[in-house]
């Protein structure tokens, strides 16, 4: 990629990321806000490609689009009196929020500009994805092996606690009712 192309792409993607991010608070519909945020994240993901981080960039696009699509489910599901379907204001306590946002931005930007960053030592590896995989999984394998079952157990526990119906509701007090008493029957006749 030529340097000019990278420069142009960087600026276009950066402006898109910030612009669509700002749009999230300007539009008056939940759907537009959700997908403005998705476009902002897609721009960030594509900007990561410019760093040569192909895997991370494309996975960012994948995860963020998926996340925003799921958010569309929850926003209609959980919003009382369904304001998601009507025009609504996208900001709460705008003055406070603007103040906090401006302070945070100025602080972070000042840090980024004022910190004496160390010079780069060595060159990036040829295959960045492999290097990333080794960095995460290589020497930290024990940590990963411990963390993943804990995370998984947390997920399962959270779902079990959140679920209103357990097996006794489905199969009766002595767990002998077949087929199960489900409000919506599943596809495999459990």
């Amino acid at each position: 990629m030529s340097a000019v192309f990278v420069d142009v792409a960087f600026w276009v993607l950066s402006v898109a990321a910030v612009g669509f991010g700002a749009l999230v608070f300007r539009v008056d519909s939940m759907a537009r806000a959700t997908y403005a945020l998705a476009v902002s994240f897609v721009a960030v993901g594509l900007a990561l490609l410019l760093l040569g981080l192909e895997y991370v960039g494309i996975v960012t696009v994948l995860m963020m689009v998926m996340e925003m699509a799921i958010m569309a489910v929850f926003m209609v599901m959980y919003m009382g009196m369904n304001p998601a379907l009507m025009p609504m204001n996208m900001v709460h306590s705008p003055r406070w929020a603007a103040g906090v946002a401006a302070t945070t931005f100025v602080g972070l930007a000042a840090l980024a500009l004022l910190v004496p960053w160390p010079a780069r030592r060595g060159a990036p590896p040829v295959d960045v994805t492999t290097a990333l995989g080794n960095a995460i999984m290589g020497s930290k394998m024990l940590v990963m092996l411990t963390v993943s079952p804990v995370l998984f157990a947390t997920l399962v526990a959270a779902v079990v606690l959140a679920s209103a119906r357990g097996r006794y509701d489905r199969f009766g007090d002595d767990l002998s009712r077949r087929p199960a008493d489900d409000p919506a029957p599943g596809g495999v006749n459990r």
């Binding site: 997908y35 994948l62 029957p185 599943g186 596809g187």
Partner: protein, 300 residues
Amino acid sequence: MGEVGQVGVGWVVVAALVLFAVAGAGAGLDGVLAARCSPLVEVARLVRQRRRRTVAADRPLWRIGGAGLLVVALLMVVVVPLGRWTVADLSVGVVWFNAMDVVVWAMVWLAGWGPNSVHSLVGGYRFLAQALSYELPLMFAITTPAVAAGSLRIADVVRAQQPLWFVVSMPVALLVFLTGVVAFSVWGPLGHPAGSDVAGGVLEELSGVDRLLVLAGRYALLAAGAAFGATLFLGGGNGPLLPAWAWSLTKTLALLAVLVAARRHAPSVRADRLAEVGWLVLLPLVLVQVLVVAVLAVAR
């Protein structure tokens, strides 16, 4: 040609068979004509048709969703090689395809949301419910060839199938992949989000050019999925005698024929029923498939 001469009485059976064959060809022709065989006819009809408008529609989102399916299909095939040629040889081509098929989630939902119409919206949400069931099995299905090839680059996956196509060692992954393609194309048995029980669902309010784009996008997604499946599981351009591009095309068309035929040979599966099928049948099956392939890859 010589003189017309009389043949023995036994030939009367052959004469009857010839008549039946010709009559059958006539009936077949009538069927083809009744089905308006040329998609060009339908294109011409839709291009002429006026756009339907609905009250308080979110027009930008509706248009984006409607045109998006075709764009996504085009972006999908960017990484799919035709024989020895590919538009973009990304080092993570498999993940690229996956990211694009997730963008379909957004597009179908936006197409359902846009017109501000009940049945369209129901269709859009049906698609997301369906997506939650098929996406994970689909992800693992396209991970399987990558595991076997030891690379996410599609050129490497094709090269790894040099002696033997991956369909031999991973038939389950191919079946799950094809299910996923049918599902993200809102097609046939998994076309519930555009089902006739909700007056066409996401298609309900679409007319004219908008409808044309969505229908064309659906076929394009099927075709892109078939091309990707042919590359990942059927060896892509590998094959004897014919040039590589011809093999790619032949395999793609064969898979596409299977996908198109699925519409008339499989019953419709509702999203709520697909949830259990996806999570309790397809996902464990494809996980075992990945395990088998991973063990084979390590052993080699």
